[in-house]
């Protein structure tokens, strides 16, 4: 086969040294592909519409599913009569709690297990029955023709009332999901040692997951084998849950998720809709497409739970934090779902403090269960902690940046072990420098002295993310064909972050081939390798070392093969660009594509595994964000003028997708801080008020500053893994809202303890301030 011009670099680009068998690869000192700004390898498919998402799937004979959902936040189903629906035109399957196939099935929420169709409906949107028909329209007509009777029960929608005596019990066990407590040092003594002690209550709202692609799947049976095209963050996670629920061998459940339109944590697992689609498909003998409506996803596919937090903190005049006492109540929703999961991690781990106490209470309310929402728990506590830090700084007359720098911990206090690397200090320091913090503060304060009702503020916040180091298991296979082109096979999903592109770059770096000749095959349980779901900002640190190992496995085999051609031992060989040469005799060389056994076999297959993380060390990313904004103190309107995010996420693999993650995180943080909130009709019906994109307000292009800057803080971290990478997707959204709140304080002198701060909230507080 003719040598492809771009398959192998011919300019003698250096390829990293191949480690001897059994040896770990050396840390990349200098890179040629990694770190550049490479557009996505699948950009054409995504932009042109050629990419096939699960929502785009159409199969021969495919029919459509629809779900009847309980319209009340709390009710008993007393009757479900499907006789009329069954006779409707086009209807091919109807399932309820009485359908034999469904009756025995269980659905789990964390450690809670209940019937697939529970007659006790605990939230608005709980599934009562499902149908499949030849068209969408027929399916929905049939849903409406189902005759259901409900006994409506009293509900509780407010997590702060869930444990009160007059709140109805959502479960027999009561409304407490669980508590979590943590303590180190002696908080009381810490407060005694403080010069200033402050305490404050903070509230954050519930946010609803709004990925562009709706939740859902297409399910089809081939005899006893189920295939699911699911919009998911992890095909193997869907496979294992569905196999367990339907009692099928893993080998009989194939899950395909090549493209997916966002998940943000809400698609880490299959939905009840996945099971329903499989059951409807089995009953009808047809493939069934069941994609939820936006209204349905808002009711039942997850949320960031609201929080009510109390934080008391003490500081010495020199800025030393002496104690933090934190409590939080948050709702799981109607079933156990981590209502306060990870909410106290910022308090435990971010700033040096010897005396810390945290207590959280997770409660049930009659609303859709939570699901992980980009950095679960973290933006909530950041909202409290970062505002408190600013208040403490103000009280002791210290600059907020300086106070934070004073309290950089040397180890992970939450885990009591060192970090492999911590860039917290550099993120704050270099971020402040690049942002022009001091000048910006002076400028804003001077501006606010002038006779204008448009006030300015700058604010900042920092963060640590709970995980982000990735880890095993992960398996990747790289095939190098005889023309030098490459196929990279991995199970991980690209959830929109650019995983495929980044992995192609890692393979290109190690093999010396152009990224364009690397074809990625991924996210299919039948044809690609086991991977854990893409979440927790761990895909890059998990998969990229594995990809590198697989590439090295290819290179080792090629050296073995070349040793036959060159008659020297493989240990004497290494790469020089697209050639393999003898270290001792530079005249002995052979082009990779000329290696005899490669030509004969046609392919070399390298398998890579993810090795373990370093023992007794934490691998965590850090960030600091800075913002400048303006407030119209007559109308309460706000405009964010600029944002800077300094991130320590280890090595940058693709600067383009890296920056885009940063900007996306800021946008999402602006939604959390300023625009988004779930509104339940808590005082009357308990139902969701805002279930469309007008009433549920995502930030628009005009709510986001044009001036956003990404400042990577790259610190060599060879201990973390062989690519030196840490996660990025979540830290980028943790301190955003808190930085905004701190800037609003500088602009208005008002402490906004309740998120989001939209013009309504702003105008209320401006009035309250004026009236004293």
């Amino acid at each position: 086969m003719a040598e492809q011009k771009n398959s192998y670099y011919t300019q003698g680009l250096s390829v990293p040294e191949t480690p001897a068998p059994g040896e770990e690869p050396a840390f990349w000192k200098q890179t040629h592909v990694v770190g550049k700004r490479l557009p996505r390898v699948d950009a054409y498919e995504r932009v042109s519409g050629a990419a096939v998402y699960p929502s785009d799937i159409t199969l021969p004979n495919m029919i459509y599913g629809a779900v009847l959902r309980c319209p009340h936040p709390h009710a008993n189903v007393t009757k479900v009569d499907v006789s009329r629906a069954k006779k409707m035109p086009g209807v091919r399957a109807v399932i309820t709690g009485q359908t034999p196939e469904a009756k025995k099935l269980k659905w789990k929420y964390n450690d809670y297990s209940g019937p697939l169709f529970d007659t006790h409906c605990r939230f608005e949107g709980e599934a009562v029955a499902a149908v499949a028909a030849d068209t969408h329209f027929q399916a929905w007509d049939a849903v409406r023709a189902i005759d259901v009777a409900y006994e409506v029960l009293p509900f509780v929608a407010d997590h702060n009332k869930a444990l009160s005596d007059d709140a109805p019990d959502i479960h027999d066990s009561g409304n407490l999901v669980g508590t979590d407590e943590y303590e180190r040092g002696d908080v009381a003594r810490g407060f005694d040692a403080a010069d200033v002690v402050l305490e404050q209550e903070y509230h954050t709202q519930s946010e609803l997951h709004t990925p562009m692609e709706l939740h859902g799947c297409v399910a089809g049976w081939d005899k006893d084998r189920l295939t699911l095209w699911e919009s998911t963050q992890g095909v193997y996670a869907v496979q294992s849950e569905i196999a367990e629920i339907l009692n099928l061998p893993l080998s009989k459940v194939r899950v395909i998720g090549h493209y997916m339109g966002g998940g943000f944590g809400s698609k880490l697992k299959p939905g009840k809709y996945t099971v329903l689609a499989a059951l409807l498909a089995r009953q009808s003998g047809r493939p069934v497409k069941l994609i939820l409506t936006r209204e349905e996803t808002y009711l039942c596919t997850g949320n960031r739970p609201a929080s009510t937090m109390h934080l008391k903190a003490g500081v010495k005049k020199d800025g030393t934090l002496t104690a933090c006492d934190f409590t939080c109540t948050g709702p799981s929703g109607a079933y156990p779902a981590g209502g306060t999961a990870l909410v106290d991690w910022q308090i435990r781990d971010l700033y040096a403090c010897d005396n810390v106490r945290c207590a959280s209470k997770d409660v049930y309310i009659n609303a859709g269960p939570a699901r992980p929402f980009r950095a679960p728990g973290h933006p909530q506590a950041s909202w409290a902690l970062e505002q408190m830090m600013d208040d403490l700084a103000d009280k002791i007359g210290m600059d907020p940046v300086a106070l934070r720098l004073k309290n950089i911990p040397e180890i992970s206090q939450g885990r009591n072990q060192p970090y492999t690397t911590t860039g917290l200090k550099q993120c704050i320091e270099k971020g402040a420098e690049q942002f022009g913090w001091k000048k910006a503060v002076e400028r804003a304060k001077a501006h606010n002295q002038t006779d204008t009702h448009i006030k300015r503020g700058v604010g900042m916040g920092a963060c640590v993310w709970f995980v982000g180091g990735g880890g095993p298991p992960s398996t990747v296979i790289i095939k190098l064909f005889r023309d030098g082109s490459v196929n990279l096979n991995m199970g991980a999903s690209d959830i929109g972050t650019g995983t495929k592109t980044v992995m192609a770059m890692v393979a290109a770096e190690e093999l010396g081939v152009a990224p364009e000749v690397i074809q990625i095959e991924h996210a299919d349980t039948e044809t690609t390798q086991y991977a854990t779901p893409s979440g927790g900002s761990k895909t890059v640190p998990t998969e990229s070392p594995t990809v590198r190992n697989a590439a090295i496995a290819v290179k080792r085999q090629l050296l073995e093969m070349a040793s036959e051609d060159l008659n020297v031992p493989a240990s004497d060989l290494d790469y020089e660009g697209a050639q393999i040469i003898s270290r001792n005799d530079k005249n002995k060389r052979i082009k990779v594509t000329d290696v005899s056994r490669l030509k004969k076999r046609g392919v070399v297959v390298g398998v890579g595994y993810r090795g373990p993380n370093p023992p007794k060390k934490s691998v965590n990313p850090f960030a600091a964000q800075f913002c400048e904004l303006a407030v119209n103190t007559k109308t309460g309107e706000m405009q964010i003028l600029r944002f800077l995010s300094a991130n320590d996420s280890g090595r940058v693999l693709d600067r383009l997708t890296y920056d885009n993650q940063v900007f996306g995180g800021i946008v999402m943080g602006i939604g959390f801080g300023m625009t988004e909130f779930r509104q339940l009709d808590a005082r009357q019906t308990g139902r969701l008020c805002n279930r469309n994109w007008h009433d549920y307000k995502l930030p628009t292009a005009l709510d986001v500053p044009v001036d956003m800057e990404s400042l990577p803080i790259e610190i060599d971290d060879p201990e973390a893994n062989n690519t030196g990478t840490k996660g990025l997707g979540e830290p980028v959204t943790i301190p955003t809202a808190a930085a905004i709140a701190n800037a609003l304080f500088m602009a208005t002198g008002i402490r906004f303890t309740r998120a989001p701060v939209n013009p309504i909230e702003m105008r209320r507080h401006l009035t309250a301030k004026k009236e004293g």
């Binding site: 319209p71 969408h136 329209f137 929905w140 009702h453 119209n632 103190t633 007559k634 109308t635 309460g636 309107e637 405009q639 300023m674 625009t675 509104q679 009709d681 808590a682 005082r683 009357q684 019906t685 139902r687 969701l688 008020c689 805002n690 279930r691 469309n692 007008h694 009433d695 307000k697 930030p699 628009t700 292009a701 005009l702 709510d703 939209n758 013009p759 309504i760 105008r763 209320r764 401006l766 009035t767």
Partner: protein
């Protein structure tokens, strides 16, 4: 999911009016109608589209020297029209602040005037007063976006249009074609207060169609503007808005029409503000008095008292724009 309906696209206005049976609705741009149909708020058997009626599209000068805007003219076309911008900047500004670019390209001025309210109880599965139920859920419920004026303690929607307030302030009229007769209605009288009928938004009869919006000639002294404050900076309805049409002689206000959006179930004319400024120099004292006057007679609910202060701040800011720069 849309219900079954038949779709008719007449080629003349008369055909359109004739096609309007009792169970039919008019579709102009459709951006609001389709949402209402999908949500089951309106369940027509027949949709009569005005799309093919080219005679209802476009902006022309009237013999009197005003402008006639065809009811099917898109909001985007109005926003960028040079005549509208030079003669009626308030209307152009209103049009520019409607929804999003996509919706402005699709939505029409006729449709914008006949919008259904955006109240989340009305749009949601709540059997509310306006949809034939017994109860306005907003009153005891979540009403932070709702009306502080003119709700008659019956229905607390705010009228969603950003073009109606400037049109009222500019003394515009709509021409209406019905099965028997044509009529002209001042935009100020087009919309319906809850006490008159809590289930209707306009005075249009079921078989009537707005064909044109006619704006009277403007004097050189007329200054107009529209300002809107919203919860997010684009694609949102007004928390509070104000259309100003001021006849100025130097810095003295000869005549004024001040119409609020986001305030009441109809575009809300604030005669309190008008009285405060008419005949006065537009200076700091007048503006402060006008801002204070806007909240007079406001009847906010528990969670929307902020609106009174918002209107106050906005009126102050907006009126100040019409004071000569070098004054004081």
């Amino acid at each position: 999911m849309l219900p079954d309906f038949s779709y008719i696209q007449p080629e003349t206005v008369k055909e359109a009016v004739d096609a309007l049976t009792d169970d039919a609705v008019v579709c102009a741009g459709g951006s609001d109608l389709l949402g209402c149909m999908r949500e089951g708020i309106i369940t027509p058997a027949r949709v009569v589209s005005l799309e093919a009626l080219d005679q209802l599209k476009g902006i022309t000068k009237t013999p009197e020297g005003g402008l006639a805007i065809g009811a099917m003219t898109t909001i985007a076309d109005i926003a960028k029209n040079p005549l509208v911008n030079s003669m009626y900047p308030g209307l152009a500004q209103g049009a520019r602040q409607v929804a999003s670019p996509q919706l402005r390209n699709q939505g029409t001025i006729g449709g914008n005037l006949c919008q259904k309210p955006r109240c989340w109880y009305y749009r949601g599965e709540f059997d509310c007063l306006r949809k034939g139920g017994k109860l306005c859920y907003a009153r005891r419920g979540q009403h932070q976006f709702h009306a502080i004026f003119g709700h008659d303690n019956l229905c607390y929607i705010t009228h969603p249009s950003d073009t109606a307030p400037p049109l009222v302030s500019l003394n515009a009229r709509v021409l209406v074609k019905g099965p028997e007769k044509n009529r002209t209605i001042p935009v100020a009288q087009l919309h319906v207060a809850p006490s008159f009928n809590p289930r209707a938004e306009t005075v249009l009869e079921p078989k009537e169609i707005i064909t044109r919006v006619v704006l009277p000639p403007v004097s050189e002294n007329l200054k107009s503007s529209y300002r809107k404050v919203r919860a997010r900076r684009a694609w949102d309805f007004a928390l509070a808005g104000v259309a100003l049409a001021l006849e100025m002689d130097g810095d003295t206000v000869l005549d004024a029409r001040v119409v609020l959006s986001g305030a009441a179930p109809i575009p809300w004319r604030s005669s309190a503000v008008e009285k405060t400024i008419i005949g006065h120099q537009l200076n700091r004292q007048t503006i402060a008095a006008a801002a204070a006057a806007v909240t007079k007679n406001a009847e906010p609910l528990e969670k929307n008292t902020y609106k009174t202060y918002l209107f106050e701040g906005m009126i102050e800011e907006e009126l100040a724009r019409f004071t000569p720069r070098d004054q004081e």
